[in-house]
Amino acid sequence: MHKDHVNLDALIYKYRDQKGALIPLLQEVQDLEGYLNPDTMRYISAKLDIPVAEIYGVATFYSMFRLKPQGKHIIRICKGTACHVSDVDAIKTALMDYLKLGQGEDTTQDFRFTLVEVACLGCCSLAPVIMIDDHTYGKLTPDAIAGILDKYAY
C-alpha cells in the first residue's frame, strides 16, 4: 500500500469538502509524488468515495497529468504556430540528442529531465520557445540548448 500517507492525507483533508476539487487535488498530489501512480489513485478513491474509474478518467484526459515517474525538471517544448514556422523541430532534435532520448522516450535515464510537447506557451514573438520548470527560454537556436540545460544540475 501507500508509503507516504501523512502528506497525502493532509492534501485529501484540505480538499475534502470543496466542490470540484478533484483536479487541483490531483495536481498537488502530482507535485508531491512526481506522478500519479495507480496505488495513489486507488487510495484517493477510497478516501473520497469517488470511483477509481472517474479519477483515472480525469488523469488520462488532461495532458498535465503523468502516469509514469518523471524527471526532476520538466522541459516543455512549444508546438504553437509561431514556433512551428520558426522550426521548433530543430530545437526538439537538439534536445533529444543532448538528452540521449530515443524515439518514444521522454525521460532521461537519470531522471533529471522529462521532455513534453505543449500546445502553446504564449510567447510567440520569441519563437521558438521552450519552458524548463517555470522559466521560459526564447529565440532559441539548436546550439544554445547545451548551455541552457547545463544550468539544471541534478
Binding site: 470540484g20 472517474e54 495532458s63 500546445a119 502553446c120 504564449g122 514573438s125 520569441l126
Partner: protein, 589 residues
C-alpha cells in the same frame, strides 16, 4: 533633483528575453549606489520584439522607453538618463522627441491594454491611480437592469471569437430563475499563436476582476471563477495577488463597499486540454470532471456550472466592461464599426517585424495591421498568407488583405475573428504543411466524444500527411472537402465544427500549392522534406569535408580539397549539410 522612475517590463515574454536579470542588476546597483531613483516592475507594453524593455521617467527630457537592453548595458543607460541625456542607441519610445516606435504606439487605441506596461500589476494602488474600481462604484449605484442596458447599448460582442452580444447574454442569465448564479472568466487561451489574454492577465489583473464584479452585480451572481491555463504560471500568480488585495479592500467578499452585495472569486487552473476553451467543457472541468462538451441547449445561462445559471465571458470581454461603465455606451460606439463597435486586441507573431500585442479599432483592414501597426515583414522573403483565428480559423492570401476587421467581413473569407491570434507567413512557409500542422493539433485535442471529429480529423490528417510526403493523388482534394463538410455538420462543439477551416481556406486560396505537391511532387516553399533533394555544386565545393562530417547517415563522400558527392539513395533529406555548408555549394531542390 527630480526623482527618476525606472520601470522594467517583467511579463513572461520579457523574462524569457532576460528582463529579470536586468531588474536584478538594477536592484543590486541601486543598493550600492543610492540614487534618486525608484525601481518598479510593470508587465508587457506589447512590443515583444524589443524585449527586454525599460521605461525611464521623471527627468525634464520626459519619459523614454528603451528596448533590447541587457544586464550589461543597463547601468550606463540609466546614468545617461539621470544626467539629462537620451541614450539614442536604445530609445524606442519618447515623449518629447522622435523615436522609432512612437508611431507604432500612436496608431493603436488602447482600452483593454491601457494599463499593460504602465502599472505594476501586483499593486492595487497603481490600478486605483488609473481610475480603477471607479466603474464598480458607479455600478453599485445603478440597478442591474441599467448596467445590462449600458453594455447592450455599447454593442460589445464576445471577444472569444463567436461575437455574441455580451449584454444580451447577461440578460439571459439575469432573468434565469434561481437564487444561486455564477460568473466565469474563460482564460483558457489555448489557440496556438495567441497570447492576448496572457498579457492582460499578467499586466492588468484588476481590470478583469472589476469587470467580473460588475457582471456579477448585473446578473445577480455571488460566486465567480477564473479558469486559467496552467501554462501561464505568472498570470495565475498575479491574479491571486490581485484577488487577495481586492478582497482586503472589500471590492470582493461580503457586503461589497457597504452595498449589501456579496461576491467571491476563485482562480481555477486548467490541466492542459484545448477543448476546455469550449464553454460547456470548461464548466465540467471546473466541476473536476473530464472536460467534454455537452449539447446546447440548455445554454449555460439557464444551466451551467453545477446546473445553475452561469454567465461566461472571455478575458478581453471582461476587460472592456469597466471602461464601458465609466465612459458610457456612446463613447464606446465612437470606436470601431456600427456592427462591431470598440477595439480588438491582436497577438502578432510569425514573420512580421513588430511581433507583439496590439489593440486597434474594429474596422481597420488587415493590411494596415501588418504593414502599419506591425511594421511590415521581418524576413527578406515576400508575404504569402496570414493566419487568423488559430486552429478554428483560416489562411488569408495577399488578395484579401484589404478585408476589414469586423466579425462579418472576416467570416466571409472563411477564416474567423477568433480570439485574436495573427500569424504572418512568408513564402518560406508551406501552406500544406501549415494545414497539416493545424489538423494535427485539433486531432490531438479532439476529446473523442463525436465520431466525425475523432476519426474524421484523423482521416484528414492522414491525407494531408500523404500529400506532404509526395504520395497524394488528385482525388484526395475531393476527399478532404467531403470530410470537412461532414465533420462540420456532425460535431457537437466548436472544436470539431471549425477543425476543417484551416484546410478549407487553404484549399480555396492556395489550391495550386496542393496540386504542386500532388502532381509535380514539389514543395514550392521547400519545406516538405520528402519532396526535397540536395545536390553539391562541383564548382563551388572546395572540399572542406564539413558536410560529410555533419551527415548523420554518412552518405556524402569525397576527399579533402576535392568536390564531394551526395549519394541520393542513402540521403534522408535532413538538410544538415545544407545548413552547415559555408560556401553555398549545396543546393536544395
Amino acid at each position: 533633483m527630480e526623482k527618476t522612475i525606472i520601470k522594467v517590463g517583467l511579463a513572461s515574454c520579457g523574462i524569457a528575453a532576460g528582463a529579470q536579470e536586468v531588474y536584478d542588476r538594477l536592484e543590486a546597483y541601486l543598493a550600492e549606489n543610492p540614487l534618486p531613483v525608484q525601481l518598479k516592475q510593470t508587465a508587457c507594453i506589447g512590443m515583444c520584439f524589443e524585449e527586454p524593455v525599460v521605461e525611464l521617467s521623471g527627468m525634464p527630457q520626459g519619459s523614454i522607453t528603451l528596448g533590447k537592453v541587457d544586464a550589461d548595458n543597463i547601468i550606463p543607460l540609466i546614468n545617461e538618463y539621470i544626467q539629462g541625456g537620451t541614450p539614442a542607441s536604445h530609445v524606442i519610445l519618447a515623449e518629447n522627441c522622435d523615436a522609432p516606435r512612437n508611431e507604432l504606439l500612436a496608431s493603436q487605441q488602447r482600452i483593454v491594454l491601457s494599463n499593460c506596461g504602465v502599472i505594476d500589476p501586483t499593486s492595487l494602488e497603481d490600478y486605483e491611480a488609473q481610475g480603477g474600481y471607479e466603474a464598480l462604484r458607479k455600478a453599485l449605484a445603478m440597478t442591474p437592469e441599467d448596467i445590462i442596458s449600458v453594455v447592450k447599448d455599447a454593442g460589445l460582442r464576445g471577444r472569444g471569437g463567436a461575437g455574441f452580444s455580451t449584454g444580451v447574454k447577461w440578460s439571459f442569465a439575469r432573468v434565469a430563475p434561481g437564487d444561486k448564479k455564477y460568473v466565469v472568466c474563460n482564460a483558457d487561451e489555448g489557440d496556438p499563436g495567441a497570447f492576448m489574454d496572457r498579457s492582460v492577465l499578467e499586466g492588468d489583473p484588476h481590470k478583469i476582476i472589476e469587470g467580473m464584479i460588475i457582471g456579477a452585480l448585473a446578473i445577480g451572481a455571488d460566486e465567480g471563477y477564473i479558469y486559467c491555463r496552467a501554462e501561464y504560471p505568472l498570470a495565475v500568480h498575479h491574479l491571486n495577488i490581485a484577488i487577495q488585495a481586492a478582497t482586503a479592500k472589500n471590492y470582493l467578499g461580503q457586503d461589497i463597499l457597504g452595498s449589501g452585495l456579496n461576491f467571491t472569486l476563485k482562480v481555477k487552473e486548467g490541466a492542459g486540454a484545448f477543448v476546455c476553451g469550449e464553454e460547456t467543457a470548461l464548466m465540467h472541468s471546473i466541476e473536476g470532471k473530464r472536460g467534454m462538451p455537452t449539447i446546447r441547449p440548455p445554454y449555460p445561462s439557464e444551466s451551467g456550472l453545477w446546473e445553475l445559471p452561469t454567465n461566461i465571458n472571455n478575458v478581453e470581454t471582461w476587460a472592456n466592461i469597466a471602461w464601458i461603465l465609466l465612459h458610457g455606451a456612446e463613447e464606446f460606439r465612437k470606436m470601431g464599426t456600427k456592427d462591431s463597435p470598440g477595439t480588438k486586441v491582436f497577438a502578432l507573431a510569425g514573420k512580421v517585424a513588430g511581433s507583439g500585442l496590439i489593440e486597434v479599432p474594429m474596422g481597420i483592414n488587415i493590411r494596415d495591421i501588418i504593414y502599419k501597426v506591425g511594421g511590415g515583414m521581418k524576413s527578406h522573403l515576400p508575404f504569402k498568407a496570414v493566419q487568423l483565428g488559430g486552429p478554428s480559423g483560416g489562411c488569408i492570401p495577399e488578395s484579401l488583405l484589404d478585408t476589414l476587421v469586423d466579425y462579418e467581413s472576416i467570416n466571409a473569407t472563411g477564416a474567423i475573428m477568433g480570439s485574436g491570434g495573427i500569424v504572418v507567413m512568408d513564402t518560406g512557409t508551406c501552406i500544406v504543411d501549415v494545414a497539416r500542422y493545424f489538423l494535427n493539433f485539433t486531432q490531438n485535442e479532439s476529446c473523442g466524444k463525436c465520431t466525425f471529429c475523432r476519426l474524421g480529423t484523423l482521416r484528414m490528417l492522414e491525407i494531408l500527411t500523404r500529400i506532404t510526403e509526395g504520395k497524394g493523388e488528385m482525388e484526395d482534394l475531393k476527399r478532404l472537402e467531403d470530410l470537412a463538410v461532414n465533420i462540420n455538420k456532425s460535431s457537437l462543439c466548436g472544436l470539431g465544427q471549425s477543425a476543417p477551416n484551416p484546410v478549407l481556406t487553404t484549399l480555396r486560396y492556395f489550391r495550386d500549392e496542393y496540386i504542386a505537391h500532388i502532381e509535380e511532387k514539389r514543395c514550392p516553399a521547400k519545406v516538405c522534406s520528402a519532396l526535397l533533394s540536395y545536390r553539391i555544386v562541383e564548382d563551388k565545393c572546395i572540399g572542406c569535408t564539413l558536410c560529410a562530417r555533419v551527415c548523420p547517415v554518412n552518405c556524402i563522400s569525397g576527399s579533402v580539397k576535392n568536390p564531394h558527392v551526395i549519394d541520393q539513395e542513402l540521403c534522408i533529406r535532413c538538410g544538415e549539410c545544407f545548413k552547415a555548408c559555408k560556401f553555398d555549394a549545396i543546393v536544395r531542390e
